[in-house]
């Protein structure tokens, strides 16, 4: 199949390592650590105090503005509210809950009759359930529903999962295709769209099969199979691949939802089920038994890895997310958050060359999906030349890592651009 967006790479997928079967539940931990900010936007204020008893599913943090509430994922007692490190290295206020082992649930109210619901109703439920974008950015889903209702032709469901190694979206499609298709139908209806297009890469044949079976006789749901290529799951690249249209700089990308998010929207509306657990892929050559785990939010990486069979001693790096855009963690005490889709354990380090040399091969230009010129941006970044960095559209860079991946001189291109963007932010124009 012909590729449908410019640039990109085709790294080894390593998806068969972890793929297959239902996700294995991780036993509920003795304590969970629920960060009060797991999304893009303002942090929640805690709704509980130290010593309070909480129920599983009880809302324990909420806030004003673009904010997504967080919930207790076990029942028990709040033992502390303190700053802890979350994946990505940030320190965030977290609610620590000691599990009483009873899983006493908070009451939930479902709305099986969603056909008559408005976008506003659905957004309110989705917000109350703490649903955020699960593809990585963790943008509050209610904001997206509110801002795109009535303004979209097609709803796009991102099921590309283009990062190597990760199979958590794949697993939800294979094991819960009903929730995915249900969510796709629901979003199409409440947003007033013509149809929902679920975009899947062709390296997930079982997921495609499962979705197709479920979507028979669903005129508002289309399964669109795309040729596998990284970073097809990036929003602008996916919109280009599906619609043939390039999103203008600064323009909103519209109604685009991750597939796991879609399933969770459905569960939230149908059952009133808040986002308490998610599928996390434990994988990489450092993992003893790569597989998908069903993890309560707030479980530490350590406990997830233990339940998944442990990691090898030679493991050199542990990454929250995929190998291309995931963030390394320094220790295993960080909690799984809403945006964690994988814990990747690699036995090899990947440092930049000690003395990187650009040979001007131009491969970075060939692979940049945003048509940038990494080799020149790198020079301007090292020279801290703000004017040229702006002229060459540094801020269009989405840090997908393709340029660093292909660079034969092993230049730390992406990392340099991340820093240079900070420079632009600080220095203004």
């Amino acid at each position: 199949m012909k590729q449908l967006f410019g640039g990109g790479i085709h790294p080894d997928g390593h998806k068969d390592m972890s793929r297959g079967g239902a996700p294995v539940p991780v036993p509920a931990p003795e304590t969970v650590c629920i960060p009060l900010r797991q999304h893009i936007g303002a942090a929640c204020a805690p709704l509980v105090a130290v010593g309070d008893a909480v129920l599983m599913g009880q809302k324990i943090g909420d806030g004003e503005g673009r904010c997504s509430p967080v919930h207790a994922t076990v029942s028990g007692t709040v033992t502390a509210i303190e700053e802890r490190e979350i994946p990505g290295g940030e320190r965030v206020q977290c609610v620590i809950i000691k599990n009483d082992g009873k899983d006493s649930p908070a009451p939930m109210t479902g709305h099986a009759s969603w056909l008559s619901m408005s976008a506003r109703d659905v957004a309110a439920i989705v917000r109350e359930c703490g649903i955020v974008g699960m593809g990585g950015a963790a943008f509050p889903t209610d904001s997206k529903i509110a801002s795109t209702a009535g303004k979209t032709g097609d709803v796009l469901i991102n099921a590309c999962e283009c990062e190597p190694y990760i199979t958590s979206d794949d697993t939800i499609m294979c094991t819960c295709p009903g929730d995915v298709i249900g969510g796709a139908k629901l979003l199409c209806r409440v947003l007033g769209a013509n149809k929902s297009i679920i975009a899947v890469e062709d390296n997930k044949p079982e997921a495609i099969e499962a979705l197709r079976k479920e979507a028979v006789d669903e005129p508002t749901v289309e399964i669109r199979v795309l040729p596998t290529r990284y970073p097809q799951g990036a929003k602008k690249q996916l919109i280009l691949a599906v619609t043939g249209r390039e999103v203008a700089p600064g323009a909103r990308s519209g109604a685009l939802f991750n597939v796991t998010t879609t399933a969770n929207v459905y569960r939230a509306v149908m059952k009133g089920q808040p986002l308490l657990e998610k599928i996390v892929t434990v994988t990489g050559d450092g993992a003893n038994e790569p597989k998908n785990m069903l993890v309560r939010i707030g479980t530490s990486f350590e406990e997830v890895l233990k339940a998944a069979g442990g990691i090898k001693e030679e493991t050199k790096q542990v990454i929250a997310g995929g190998p291309m855009m995931g963030k390394g963690v320094s220790g295993l005490d960080v909690p799984v958050v809403k945006g964690t889709n994988a814990i990747l354990c690699l036995t090899e380090e990947c440092d930049a060359a000690a003395d990187p040399v650009c040979i001007r091969c131009g491969k970075c230009v060939d692979v940049c999906p945003m048509y940038l010129q990494p080799l020149y941006l790198y020079r301007y970044a090292l020279a801290e030349d703000r004017e040229m960095l702006n002229e060459y559209f540094l801020n269009d860079c989405m840090e997908c890592g393709c340029c660093s991946f292909v660079c034969p001189g092993k230049l730390p291109l992406t990392a340099t651009f991340v820093k240079a963007k900070q420079l632009l932010k600080k220095g203004g124009r």
């Binding site: 790294p11 602008k236 790096q317 963690v329 295993l332 040399v357 001007r360 034969p408 730390p412």
Partner: protein, 326 residues
């Protein structure tokens, strides 16, 4: 498990491209030309390549030691320079002039300006330009018919015969058949004559994605169009074919003009650059004192490579041609 992992920036994996691998591919692509040279010119052709490559490696090491730079011999780029320079001299070229060219190429053209990737001019062509300046006869006289001993180190006696380029520059078609041109049965430098070998090398470079088609196609295309339009004699097509296959156009277009460091990195600029090389080559063939103009054509375009990258308009994602967004 209170381990502390090293946290590095994304991406956490890399492809298996390396400078050494790319240079290795270029050397593999040069093998057909080297083999053809040995078949056509004998063992001396191989000696020229080996001595030149060895000299370049030694000079590269010396530069690294003198400038306290990381030892860069392992990236194989010096070997590529050495072989390329050897391929663009005739078999009669004395070893010492070749070594002098190597020294200039590696030390001055490449080393002193910052090493691999920093050089503005193609080192091998820079070395050749120096040799043409000081010892033009050893470079331009070609077409020996008597076997030259591979172990003759001084200047060499040989029987000169006109190269196809020399015939063309007099306005006549060479006597060699087109098949001879393709196989290399004619005078010229040891690496430029066998077009077939060069094309096999090109196929390898394209297959391995070391280079794109843009520069070679634009270069050869420009030469073809100009020689067709301004053909001498009554068979324009033949005139064009001899112009494309004679001299150093193929060697230059495939292996010299595509040198990463000294050519543009952006697709549009590569096309303009290739056309520029072709146009200048033809101008120098018409007006220059030498029958051939590839060396200076590429060197001049080398000087414009960065400027071309900078000059051509950048296409921004989401902004259509004509400027307006959406």
């Amino acid at each position: 498990m209170s381990v502390n992992f090293k946290v590095t920036a994304a991406p956490h994996i890399r492809g298996n491209e390396s400078t050494r691998k790319i240079m290795g591919d270029v050397l593999i692509a040069l093998c057909p030309a080297i083999i053809a040279a040995v078949i056509l010119f004998g063992l001396r052709a191989l000696m020229l390549c080996v001595i030149s490559a060895a000299a370049c490696v030694v000079f590269e090491a010396l530069v690294c030691l003198a400038l306290r730079r990381r030892m860069s011999v392992g990236d194989l780029s010096a070997v590529v320079t050495g072989v390329l320079l050897a391929l663009c001299v005739p078999d009669s070229c004395p070893y010492w002039t070749l070594i002098a060219g190597d020294a200039f190429a590696i030390i001055v053209v490449k080393g002193l300006v910052g090493g691999l990737g920093q050089n503005v001019f193609n080192p091998a062509l820079g070395g050749r330009a120096l040799m043409m300046l000081f010892w033009p006869a050893t470079i331009t006289r070609a077409g020996s018919v008597e076997a030259i001993s591979a172990f003759e180190f001084g200047s060499v006696d040989f029987v000169a015969s006109a190269t196809p380029m020399q015939t063309l520059s007099r306005g006549a078609l060479p006597e060699n058949s087109l098949l001879d041109m393709l196989l290399g049965n004619h005078g010229g430098t040891i690496g430029e004559v066998c077009i077939l070998a060069l094309l096999i090398g090109l196929a390898w470079l394209l297959y391995r994605r070391v280079i794109s088609w843009r520069i070679p196609a634009a270069y050869v295309g420009a030469v073809a169009v100009l020689s067709l339009v301004f053909a001498e004699g009554d068979n324009a097509l033949l005139w064009m074919l001899y112009n494309v296959m004679g001299g150093g156009v193929m060697l230059g277009a495939i292996f010299m003009a595509t040198d990463y460091a000294t050519s543009p990195s952006l697709p549009k600029a590569q096309i303009v650059y290739g056309i520029g090389c072709g146009v200048l080559t033809m101008i120098f063939r018409w007006g220059g004192n030498f029958p051939e103009g590839v060396t200076y054509a590429i060197l001049i375009m080398n000087g414009l490579a960065w400027a071309l990258d900078r000059a051509l308009p950048v296409r921004r994602f989401g902004v259509m041609k004509g400027g307006a967004g959406k």
